[in-house]
């Protein structure tokens, strides 16, 4: 059984079909970059995998949990599949330390000391040890995003989902977040990331999925797919984003 | 409970109720006009760079908003005559209500002024609109649109508030209730009926105001 298995996923918002039959699998340790035009359904796909959206038909299995079964334990699934959003979504009323500790305490039932220790380690890992007591509104966008990554990593998920996590950042802050991502990748984390950073996809991802109009249009090894696109759609997409 | 509700006993007083409704509406409408006029003057004073204008405006607004209408009403109706200014109940009501509304509407209007952004005016002029066109389409229309909902709910609130002037013997709708009560001794029925009449007026005005909003602001911007 693969870590992630999607079988013929269909998802509509009202009368608009956004995902038109997505099937794919993903193995432990893989790093998959999802690219595609705005509106092609990338975010929706990630949100379905994390159970934030329900699908009309198809089967979703993540880390041994069938998300599409009625009564599926979505909270358990989400503990195994961490997710980081474009807009950081830190909890504004909690300090950095407490942001990271919250789910450790509530979901993983750690003691305060255990949770604090882990939180400190994770925040240090993203290079923000000196910001533990700060509140989100005192941090730059890049710093907030790094905290969001630490918060998710602290849950020790089997899989991490990243949705355009650098798109809301000023250009000079993108680098620091990508560096953190590279570090996470090196440690062998299984990752699925939606990104517009083609160089990052080429260098860090094992595999690239190109989505087009709600379908997987190309799916292959990262360098090969990006350097030698097989379809006209991917070619024109790449020339549009690279120039 | 073995009380016999006798709403029928109120039937002979239909014309009093109608008179009351009419006076309530007149009072509300005239107060709205006077209150807005006062409010406009106060709002302009309160954004003026001169503190000689700003300060009295501020004091007026704070004094009115932090004291009950009924006390303001008593000062006008019972207090002013001791200074030689005698007023009938209905005119005292109109004055007190207008002064009261002036304070609240000045805050709404001020928010309307503040919603106007200079960059919008520049954008209008740079598109080749004349000063008058810019004022009408870029300044006035959006500003009115932004304060319209607040003004509409202020009007409904005002209409409900006019009931308070019955306490000095004004003969608007709630005053008529007291009169009918004194004739029929059917206090509960009278006040329940009158209170529900206000609900009817409220719903009618809310519908009217949203219809106007739709006609003036929504349909127009679609066309």
């Amino acid at each position: 059984m693969s870590l992630v298995e999607l079988t013929d996923i269909h998802k509509s918002f009202g009368s608009v079909e956004v995902l038109k039959g997505i099937s794919m699998t993903m193995e432990q340790g893989e790093i998959v970059a999802i690219i595609g035009r705005s509106g092609s359904g990338k975010s929706t796909l990630l949100r379905c995998i994390n159970g934030l959206e329900s699908v009309q038909s198809g089967r979703i299995q993540v880390a041994g949990i069938e998300a599409t079964k009625p009564g599926a334990d979505l909270n358990a699934l989400r503990q195994r599949a961490g997710m980081v959003f474009q807009s950081y979504n830190l909890f504004p009323h909690l300090s950095v330390e407490r942001n990271v500790m919250l789910a450790l305490r509530l979901v993983q039932k750690m003691s305060v000391d255990e949770a604090r220790e882990l939180a400190h380690a994770m925040v240090a890992k993203v290079g923000l040890a000196e910001k533990l007591a700060a509140y989100p509104d005192e941090l730059s966008g890049g710093q907030q995003q790094r905290v969001a990554i630490a918060r998710s990593l602290a849950m020790q998920p089997t899989l991490m989902l990243f949705d355009e996590i650098t798109s809301a950042l000023d250009p000079e802050l993108v680098g620091e977040v990508l560096k953190v991502l590279e570090g996470v990748a090196r440690e062998g984390m299984t990752m699925m990331l939606v990104t517009h950073e083609m160089n990052f996809a080429k260098n860090v991802a094992d595999r690239v999925i190109f989505m087009h109009e709600g379908r997987i249009h190309e799916d292959g090894p990262a360098r090969e797919t990006l350097l030698e696109p097989r379809t006209e759609e991917l070619r024109s997409f790449l020339s549009a984003v690279l120039h | 409970m073995n009380y016999n509700f006798k709403f029928k006993a109120l039937a002979p007083y239909t014309s009093e109720i109608i008179d009351g409704v009419i006076l309530t509406l007149q009072l509300s409408a005239v107060t709205m006009l006077l209150g807005l006029a006062i409010g406009l003057a106060v709002a302009i004073a309160s954004i003026s760079p001169k503190s000689a204008l700003r300060r009295p405006a501020r004091i007026y607004v704070e004094a009115i908003r932090n004291t009950p209408l009924i006390v303001q009403l008593f000062i006008v109706f019972f207090g002013l005559p001791t200074l030689g200014i005698k007023l009938g109940a209905n005119s005292a009501a109109l004055i007190a209500l207008s002064i009261n509304l002036g304070a609240y509407s000045s805050e709404i209007l001020r928010a309307g002024f503040e919603s106007i952004r200079p960059s919008q005016i520049e954008a209008g002029r740079s598109l080749g609109l004349t000063a008058a066109q810019t004022f009408r389409h870029v300044v006035l229309f959006p500003a009115i649109k932004s304060i319209y909902p607040a003004l509409a709910s202020q009007f409904v609130l005002l209409m409900l508030t006019t009931s308070i002037v019955s306490s000095i013997g004004a003969t608007e709708l709630f005053g008529q209730a007291a009169f009918i009560d004194s004739r029929t001794y059917r206090s509960f029925e009278v006040y329940a009926l009158i209170t529900l009449s206000y609900l009817f007026l409220t719903l009618a005005f809310r519908s009217l105001f949203s219809a106007i909003y739709w006609l003036v602001f929504v349909r127009r911007s679609r066309a």
Binding site: N50, G51, L52, L74, N75, R78, Q79, G82, M83, F85, S87, N89, F91, P92, H93, L102, A103, L106, V107, Y135, P136, D137, R151, S152, M155 | M1, Y3, E62, A63, R65, N66, T67, P68, L69, I70, V71, F74, I75, F78, G79, L80, T82, L83, V156, L160, S163, I164, S166, F174, A177, S187, F188, Y191, A192, I194, T195, Y198, L199, T202, L203
Partner: protein, 216 residues
Amino acid sequence: MIREFSLNDLVFMLEALRWTVGLAIIATIGGGALGIIVAVLRVVAFKPANWLAIGYINLVQGTPLLGQLFVFFFGLPLFGIQVDAWVAASLSLSIYASAFFGEIWRGSLQSVSQRQWEAGAALGLNYWQRLTHVVLPQALRISIAPTVGFLVQLVKNTSLAALIGFIELTRASQIITAATFAPLPVYTTAAALYFIICFSLSQFSQRLERRFHVTR
């Protein structure tokens, strides 16, 4: 016998002011408890509950408080409940407050972005944990200033209880006026007393507003 407006009268007014404040406190507590129910009924994912809450809010906000006061004052005895003016006043002011609190708190709850719910979900928090640890603490901060702001309305509106004979500040002023025929000084004094309470609350509310305006 006409007498002067004296220090004794002022003392009487200050004593009556305690009832103004007391009534406001009762209505805050009663209205607060009811208001929570209204807010919850307004937001739960169950249409009939939403309709019930909307109807209630419209009924309370669409009729004059004075009317509600009289309806309770004359209506409760018909159900065999003998009420003093203060009971009728407490009850109707509580109901009045509950509709406004309900709306203020619903607004605060809904102004916490959907993304905060999602961020909680993505960390595996269950619904209750998301509500109590993520959304409510933020909603509470947002609601403090408007809640205190509404208390100003409430304090002012306790004055209407005078019209059903409850002796709070306004009624006390009427009584003193009848004895002294000095309406101007009496009512101005009453206004000043109301002003002190309401202005302090307004200022406090604005301070809270500024303080909690930052997202934290």
